[in-house]
Symmetry: C2
Subunit: 201 residues, 2 copies
Amino acid sequence: MEASTKPVLYTYFRSSCSWRVRIALALKGLAYDSAPVNLVKDGGQQLSPEFQAVNPMKQVPVLRIDGITLSQSLAIIEYLEETRPNPRILPQDPKTRAQVRMISDHIVTGIQPLQNLSVLQQMGEKKLDWAQSCISSGFEGHMVTMADLCLVPQVYNAERYKVDLTPYPTIRRINKALLELEAFQISHPSRQPDTPPELKV
Amino acid sequence: MEASTKPVLYTYFRSSCSWRVRIALALKGLAYDSAPVNLVKDGGQQLSPEFQAVNPMKQVPVLRIDGITLSQSLAIIEYLEETRPNPRILPQDPKTRAQVRMISDHIVTGIQPLQNLSVLQQMGEKKLDWAQSCISSGFEGHMVTMADLCLVPQVYNAERYKVDLTPYPTIRRINKALLELEAFQISHPSRQPDTPPELKV
Protein backbone atom coordinates (compact mmCIF):
# COMPACT_ATOMS: atom_id res chain seq x y z
CA MET A 1 0.00 0.00 0.00
CA GLU A 2 1.31 3.45 -0.92
CA ALA A 3 1.66 6.10 1.76
CA SER A 4 -0.23 8.47 -0.53
CA THR A 5 -3.40 6.34 -0.61
CA LYS A 6 -6.44 7.88 1.07
CA PRO A 7 -6.81 6.55 4.64
CA VAL A 8 -9.52 3.96 5.27
CA LEU A 9 -11.41 4.00 8.57
CA TYR A 10 -13.17 0.83 9.67
CA THR A 11 -15.97 2.28 11.76
CA TYR A 12 -19.38 1.72 13.29
CA PHE A 13 -21.64 4.75 13.45
CA ARG A 14 -22.56 4.25 17.12
CA SER A 15 -19.15 3.19 18.46
CA SER A 16 -17.80 5.86 20.79
CA CYS A 17 -14.23 4.71 20.10
CA SER A 18 -14.84 5.14 16.36
CA TRP A 19 -16.40 8.53 16.93
CA ARG A 20 -13.31 9.80 18.78
CA VAL A 21 -11.21 9.01 15.72
CA ARG A 22 -13.76 10.52 13.33
CA ILE A 23 -13.61 13.78 15.31
CA ALA A 24 -9.80 13.78 15.14
CA LEU A 25 -9.85 13.18 11.37
CA ALA A 26 -12.40 15.98 10.94
CA LEU A 27 -10.46 18.42 13.11
CA LYS A 28 -7.34 17.75 11.10
CA GLY A 29 -9.22 18.01 7.81
CA LEU A 30 -8.15 14.56 6.64
CA ALA A 31 -10.27 13.01 3.89
CA TYR A 32 -10.81 9.27 4.32
CA ASP A 33 -12.95 6.41 3.08
CA SER A 34 -15.36 4.79 5.53
CA ALA A 35 -15.49 1.01 5.71
CA PRO A 36 -18.52 0.33 7.94
CA VAL A 37 -18.38 -2.71 10.24
CA ASN A 38 -21.76 -3.42 11.80
CA LEU A 39 -21.14 -4.72 15.33
CA VAL A 40 -24.63 -6.20 15.69
CA LYS A 41 -25.68 -7.31 12.19
CA ASP A 42 -24.87 -10.86 11.02
CA GLY A 43 -23.94 -11.73 14.62
CA GLY A 44 -21.27 -9.00 14.53
CA GLN A 45 -19.37 -8.31 11.33
CA GLN A 46 -16.21 -7.72 13.36
CA LEU A 47 -16.08 -11.50 13.85
CA SER A 48 -15.92 -12.24 10.13
CA PRO A 49 -12.73 -13.79 8.73
CA GLU A 50 -12.44 -10.77 6.39
CA PHE A 51 -12.38 -8.30 9.26
CA GLN A 52 -10.16 -10.46 11.44
CA ALA A 53 -7.60 -10.31 8.65
CA VAL A 54 -7.69 -6.51 9.08
CA ASN A 55 -7.67 -6.55 12.90
CA PRO A 56 -7.14 -9.80 14.79
CA MET A 57 -8.42 -7.98 17.91
CA LYS A 58 -11.89 -7.89 16.28
CA GLN A 59 -12.54 -4.27 17.26
CA VAL A 60 -13.29 -0.99 15.57
CA PRO A 61 -11.97 1.59 14.94
CA VAL A 62 -9.14 0.54 12.66
CA LEU A 63 -7.33 3.10 10.55
CA ARG A 64 -5.31 2.12 7.50
CA ILE A 65 -2.97 5.01 6.90
CA ASP A 66 0.53 5.60 5.52
CA GLY A 67 0.88 1.89 4.77
CA ILE A 68 0.17 0.70 8.32
CA THR A 69 -2.92 -0.60 10.10
CA LEU A 70 -3.69 0.89 13.52
CA SER A 71 -6.24 0.05 16.19
CA GLN A 72 -7.02 1.52 19.64
CA SER A 73 -8.52 4.99 19.42
CA LEU A 74 -5.96 6.90 21.48
CA ALA A 75 -3.00 5.24 19.74
CA ILE A 76 -4.55 6.29 16.42
CA ILE A 77 -5.14 9.85 17.65
CA GLU A 78 -1.57 10.16 18.97
CA TYR A 79 -0.28 8.96 15.58
CA LEU A 80 -2.39 11.54 13.75
CA GLU A 81 -1.09 14.22 16.11
CA GLU A 82 2.53 13.23 15.51
CA THR A 83 2.25 13.02 11.74
CA ARG A 84 -0.34 15.80 11.12
CA PRO A 85 0.27 18.31 13.92
CA ASN A 86 -2.00 21.05 12.53
CA PRO A 87 -4.26 21.89 14.20
CA ARG A 88 -2.86 20.54 17.45
CA ILE A 89 -5.09 18.49 19.73
CA LEU A 90 -2.43 18.11 22.40
CA PRO A 91 -0.99 21.22 24.07
CA GLN A 92 2.75 21.71 23.61
CA ASP A 93 3.65 22.07 27.30
CA PRO A 94 4.44 18.59 28.74
CA LYS A 95 2.56 19.25 32.00
CA THR A 96 -0.62 20.30 30.22
CA ARG A 97 -0.25 17.43 27.74
CA ALA A 98 -0.07 15.07 30.70
CA GLN A 99 -3.29 16.46 32.13
CA VAL A 100 -5.09 16.08 28.81
CA ARG A 101 -3.87 12.49 28.53
CA MET A 102 -4.90 11.82 32.12
CA ILE A 103 -8.50 12.83 31.46
CA SER A 104 -8.54 10.99 28.12
CA ASP A 105 -7.24 7.79 29.68
CA HIS A 106 -9.72 8.10 32.51
CA ILE A 107 -12.60 8.16 30.06
CA VAL A 108 -11.22 5.63 27.61
CA THR A 109 -10.41 2.93 30.14
CA GLY A 110 -14.18 2.77 30.73
CA ILE A 111 -14.85 0.85 27.54
CA GLN A 112 -17.82 -1.25 28.52
CA PRO A 113 -21.34 0.24 28.68
CA LEU A 114 -21.59 -0.43 32.39
CA GLN A 115 -18.27 1.22 33.00
CA ASN A 116 -19.25 4.09 30.75
CA LEU A 117 -21.90 5.02 33.27
CA SER A 118 -19.68 4.62 36.26
CA VAL A 119 -16.86 6.58 34.65
CA LEU A 120 -19.14 9.49 33.97
CA GLN A 121 -20.54 9.31 37.46
CA GLN A 122 -17.01 9.10 38.83
CA MET A 123 -16.07 12.17 36.85
CA GLY A 124 -18.93 13.93 38.59
CA GLU A 125 -19.11 17.65 38.99
CA LYS A 126 -16.51 18.30 41.62
CA LYS A 127 -14.01 16.05 39.91
CA LEU A 128 -14.52 17.46 36.46
CA ASP A 129 -14.12 20.94 37.89
CA TRP A 130 -10.88 19.75 39.39
CA ALA A 131 -9.76 18.34 36.07
CA GLN A 132 -10.87 21.42 34.20
CA SER A 133 -9.06 23.72 36.56
CA CYS A 134 -5.91 21.63 36.11
CA ILE A 135 -6.22 22.08 32.40
CA SER A 136 -7.54 25.56 31.91
CA SER A 137 -4.66 26.97 33.92
CA GLY A 138 -2.35 25.66 31.23
CA PHE A 139 -4.39 26.73 28.24
CA GLU A 140 -4.36 29.88 26.25
CA GLY A 141 -7.65 30.42 24.55
CA HIS A 142 -10.05 27.56 23.96
CA MET A 143 -8.14 24.69 22.48
CA VAL A 144 -10.01 21.52 21.56
CA THR A 145 -8.00 18.60 22.90
CA MET A 146 -7.89 14.83 22.92
CA ALA A 147 -9.83 14.99 26.21
CA ASP A 148 -12.73 16.68 24.41
CA LEU A 149 -12.68 13.95 21.76
CA CYS A 150 -13.20 11.46 24.56
CA LEU A 151 -15.79 13.45 26.49
CA VAL A 152 -18.42 13.98 23.80
CA PRO A 153 -18.90 10.30 22.80
CA GLN A 154 -18.99 9.46 26.51
CA VAL A 155 -21.84 11.88 27.13
CA TYR A 156 -23.64 10.52 24.07
CA ASN A 157 -23.44 7.03 25.58
CA ALA A 158 -24.62 8.31 28.94
CA GLU A 159 -27.66 9.86 27.28
CA ARG A 160 -28.29 6.67 25.36
CA TYR A 161 -28.33 4.75 28.62
CA LYS A 162 -30.54 7.40 30.20
CA VAL A 163 -28.08 8.61 32.82
CA ASP A 164 -29.48 11.72 34.51
CA LEU A 165 -27.03 14.46 33.61
CA THR A 166 -28.70 17.27 35.55
CA PRO A 167 -26.19 16.92 38.43
CA TYR A 168 -23.35 17.63 35.98
CA PRO A 169 -23.84 21.14 34.58
CA THR A 170 -20.16 21.59 33.73
CA ILE A 171 -20.08 18.42 31.64
CA ARG A 172 -23.30 19.46 29.90
CA ARG A 173 -22.01 22.94 29.17
CA ILE A 174 -18.73 21.70 27.68
CA ASN A 175 -20.50 18.99 25.69
CA LYS A 176 -22.99 21.50 24.27
CA ALA A 177 -20.25 23.92 23.24
CA LEU A 178 -18.28 21.15 21.52
CA LEU A 179 -21.31 19.91 19.63
CA GLU A 180 -21.54 23.35 17.99
CA LEU A 181 -18.27 22.62 16.21
CA GLU A 182 -18.38 21.20 12.71
CA ALA A 183 -15.86 18.43 13.45
CA PHE A 184 -18.11 17.06 16.17
CA GLN A 185 -21.20 17.34 13.96
CA ILE A 186 -19.99 15.68 10.78
CA SER A 187 -18.51 12.83 12.82
CA HIS A 188 -21.71 12.33 14.85
CA PRO A 189 -23.29 8.82 14.90
CA SER A 190 -26.45 10.25 13.33
CA ARG A 191 -24.59 11.37 10.19
CA GLN A 192 -22.47 8.41 9.15
CA PRO A 193 -22.59 6.41 5.90
CA ASP A 194 -23.71 3.38 7.94
CA THR A 195 -26.30 5.20 10.08
CA PRO A 196 -29.67 3.45 9.62
CA PRO A 197 -32.19 5.76 7.87
CA GLU A 198 -34.46 5.96 10.94
CA LEU A 199 -31.58 7.33 13.07
CA LYS A 200 -30.37 9.90 10.53
CA VAL A 201 -31.00 13.58 11.20
CA MET B 1 6.00 22.43 45.67
CA GLU B 2 9.41 22.95 44.10
CA ALA B 3 10.22 21.26 40.82
CA SER B 4 13.43 19.96 42.40
CA THR B 5 11.60 17.98 45.13
CA LYS B 6 11.96 14.21 44.90
CA PRO B 7 8.90 12.69 43.17
CA VAL B 8 6.37 10.90 45.37
CA LEU B 9 4.60 7.80 44.05
CA TYR B 10 1.32 6.78 45.68
CA THR B 11 1.39 3.06 45.06
CA TYR B 12 0.05 -0.33 46.10
CA PHE B 13 2.49 -3.20 45.84
CA ARG B 14 0.07 -5.48 43.98
CA SER B 15 -1.53 -2.91 41.66
CA SER B 16 -0.53 -3.65 38.07
CA CYS B 17 -1.10 0.00 37.12
CA SER B 18 1.30 1.06 39.90
CA TRP B 19 3.83 -1.53 38.81
CA ARG B 20 3.90 -0.16 35.26
CA VAL B 21 4.91 3.23 36.61
CA ARG B 22 7.46 1.71 39.01
CA ILE B 23 9.12 -0.02 36.06
CA ALA B 24 9.25 3.25 34.10
CA LEU B 25 10.79 5.08 37.06
CA ALA B 26 13.34 2.30 37.49
CA LEU B 27 14.24 2.20 33.78
CA LYS B 28 14.80 5.95 33.81
CA GLY B 29 16.78 5.77 37.04
CA LEU B 30 14.53 8.24 38.85
CA ALA B 31 14.70 8.16 42.65
CA TYR B 32 11.33 8.65 44.34
CA ASP B 33 9.58 8.28 47.68
CA SER B 34 6.88 5.62 48.00
CA ALA B 35 3.60 6.57 49.65
CA PRO B 36 1.80 3.22 50.03
CA VAL B 37 -2.00 3.21 49.71
CA ASN B 38 -3.48 -0.12 50.78
CA LEU B 39 -6.45 -0.81 48.53
CA VAL B 40 -7.93 -3.46 50.83
CA LYS B 41 -6.98 -2.41 54.39
CA ASP B 42 -9.32 -0.13 56.37
CA GLY B 43 -11.98 -0.72 53.72
CA GLY B 44 -9.63 0.73 51.11
CA GLN B 45 -7.29 3.58 52.02
CA GLN B 46 -7.87 5.15 48.59
CA LEU B 47 -11.33 6.15 49.88
CA SER B 48 -9.93 8.19 52.78
CA PRO B 49 -10.45 11.97 52.73
CA GLU B 50 -6.64 12.36 52.86
CA PHE B 51 -6.12 10.38 49.66
CA GLN B 52 -9.11 11.90 47.89
CA ALA B 53 -7.45 15.26 48.42
CA VAL B 54 -4.50 13.85 46.45
CA ASN B 55 -6.59 12.14 43.75
CA PRO B 56 -10.35 12.71 43.59
CA MET B 57 -10.51 9.68 41.26
CA LYS B 58 -9.57 7.48 44.25
CA GLN B 59 -7.08 5.41 42.27
CA VAL B 60 -3.41 4.55 42.40
CA PRO B 61 -0.90 5.19 40.95
CA VAL B 62 -0.51 8.90 41.51
CA LEU B 63 2.80 10.60 40.85
CA ARG B 64 3.64 13.97 42.34
CA ILE B 65 6.41 15.35 40.19
CA ASP B 66 7.67 18.73 39.00
CA GLY B 67 4.97 20.49 41.02
CA ILE B 68 2.04 18.63 39.42
CA THR B 69 -0.04 15.62 40.43
CA LEU B 70 -0.65 12.98 37.76
CA SER B 71 -2.81 9.89 37.66
CA GLN B 72 -3.48 7.24 34.97
CA SER B 73 -0.46 5.02 34.38
CA LEU B 74 0.05 5.66 30.66
CA ALA B 75 -0.38 9.43 31.03
CA ILE B 76 2.30 9.32 33.73
CA ILE B 77 4.61 7.20 31.58
CA GLU B 78 4.16 9.50 28.55
CA TYR B 79 5.02 12.47 30.80
CA LEU B 80 8.17 10.77 32.06
CA GLU B 81 9.14 9.97 28.48
CA GLU B 82 8.65 13.59 27.37
CA THR B 83 10.54 15.12 30.28
CA ARG B 84 13.18 12.39 30.88
CA PRO B 85 13.76 10.90 27.44
CA ASN B 86 16.80 8.80 28.41
CA PRO B 87 16.58 5.90 28.06
CA ARG B 88 13.69 5.99 25.63
CA ILE B 89 10.72 3.69 26.16
CA LEU B 90 8.96 4.83 23.00
CA PRO B 91 10.66 4.34 19.64
CA GLN B 92 11.34 7.54 17.68
CA ASP B 93 9.66 6.51 14.43
CA PRO B 94 5.97 7.56 14.56
CA LYS B 95 4.73 4.33 12.97
CA THR B 96 6.56 2.16 15.49
CA ARG B 97 5.52 4.43 18.36
CA ALA B 98 1.92 3.96 17.23
CA GLN B 99 2.30 0.20 17.35
CA VAL B 100 3.77 0.29 20.85
CA ARG B 101 0.91 2.53 22.02
CA MET B 102 -1.61 0.22 20.33
CA ILE B 103 -0.42 -2.79 22.32
CA SER B 104 -0.14 -0.75 25.53
CA ASP B 105 -3.68 0.58 25.16
CA HIS B 106 -4.96 -2.86 24.37
CA ILE B 107 -3.60 -4.18 27.65
CA VAL B 108 -4.39 -1.15 29.78
CA THR B 109 -8.02 -0.79 28.77
CA GLY B 110 -8.49 -4.18 30.45
CA ILE B 111 -8.36 -2.76 33.97
CA GLN B 112 -10.68 -5.07 35.82
CA PRO B 113 -9.52 -8.52 36.93
CA LEU B 114 -12.12 -10.23 34.79
CA GLN B 115 -11.06 -8.21 31.79
CA ASN B 116 -7.45 -8.86 32.64
CA LEU B 117 -8.04 -12.49 31.86
CA SER B 118 -9.99 -11.87 28.71
CA VAL B 119 -7.45 -9.37 27.44
CA LEU B 120 -4.67 -11.85 27.84
CA GLN B 121 -6.73 -14.54 26.22
CA GLN B 122 -7.60 -12.14 23.43
CA MET B 123 -3.93 -11.40 22.93
CA GLY B 124 -3.47 -15.13 22.43
CA GLU B 125 -0.57 -16.57 20.56
CA LYS B 126 -1.41 -15.74 16.97
CA LYS B 127 -2.34 -12.18 17.88
CA LEU B 128 0.74 -11.51 19.93
CA ASP B 129 2.84 -12.87 17.09
CA TRP B 130 1.06 -10.45 14.85
CA ALA B 131 1.71 -7.59 17.22
CA GLN B 132 5.31 -8.63 17.72
CA SER B 133 5.94 -8.88 14.03
CA CYS B 134 4.47 -5.38 13.61
CA ILE B 135 6.86 -4.10 16.19
CA SER B 136 10.05 -6.02 15.67
CA SER B 137 10.13 -4.95 12.04
CA GLY B 138 10.50 -1.39 13.29
CA PHE B 139 13.05 -2.04 16.00
CA GLU B 140 16.77 -2.09 15.98
CA GLY B 141 18.12 -4.22 18.75
CA HIS B 142 16.03 -5.12 21.77
CA MET B 143 14.41 -1.98 23.06
CA VAL B 144 12.25 -2.18 26.17
CA THR B 145 9.08 -0.21 25.44
CA MET B 146 5.90 0.98 27.10
CA ALA B 147 4.24 -2.16 25.75
CA ASP B 148 6.61 -4.29 27.83
CA LEU B 149 5.77 -2.23 30.93
CA CYS B 150 2.15 -3.19 30.35
CA LEU B 151 2.76 -6.84 29.49
CA VAL B 152 4.65 -7.98 32.59
CA PRO B 153 2.09 -6.82 35.22
CA GLN B 154 -0.62 -8.33 33.03
CA VAL B 155 1.04 -11.72 33.04
CA TYR B 156 1.55 -11.45 36.80
CA ASN B 157 -2.21 -10.91 37.20
CA ALA B 158 -2.96 -13.81 34.91
CA GLU B 159 -0.77 -16.07 37.03
CA ARG B 160 -2.43 -14.80 40.18
CA TYR B 161 -5.82 -15.74 38.78
CA LYS B 162 -4.43 -19.09 37.64
CA VAL B 163 -4.84 -18.59 33.92
CA ASP B 164 -3.16 -21.45 32.07
CA LEU B 165 -0.35 -19.80 30.12
CA THR B 166 0.93 -22.91 28.39
CA PRO B 167 -0.90 -22.02 25.15
CA TYR B 168 1.04 -18.75 25.01
CA PRO B 169 4.73 -19.57 24.68
CA THR B 170 5.61 -16.22 23.07
CA ILE B 171 4.10 -14.27 25.95
CA ARG B 172 5.88 -16.49 28.45
CA ARG B 173 9.20 -16.12 26.67
CA ILE B 174 9.00 -12.33 26.51
CA ASN B 175 7.82 -12.09 30.11
CA LYS B 176 10.66 -14.29 31.31
CA ALA B 177 13.26 -12.24 29.46
CA LEU B 178 11.90 -8.98 30.85
CA LEU B 179 11.87 -10.30 34.41
CA GLU B 180 15.64 -10.78 34.13
CA LEU B 181 16.04 -7.00 33.95
CA GLU B 182 16.72 -5.09 37.14
CA ALA B 183 14.02 -2.47 36.48
CA PHE B 184 11.38 -5.20 36.40
CA GLN B 185 12.80 -6.86 39.52
CA ILE B 186 13.13 -3.89 41.87
CA SER B 187 9.63 -2.72 40.91
CA HIS B 188 8.09 -6.17 41.45
CA PRO B 189 5.11 -6.48 43.86
CA SER B 190 7.15 -8.85 46.03
CA ARG B 191 9.79 -6.20 46.73
CA GLN B 192 7.91 -3.05 47.66
CA PRO B 193 7.97 -1.10 50.94
CA ASP B 194 4.32 -2.05 51.47
CA THR B 195 4.67 -5.73 50.54
CA PRO B 196 3.43 -7.83 53.49
CA PRO B 197 6.29 -9.87 55.04
CA GLU B 198 4.75 -13.21 54.01
CA LEU B 199 4.78 -12.15 50.34
CA LYS B 200 8.32 -10.79 50.30
CA VAL B 201 11.03 -12.72 48.50
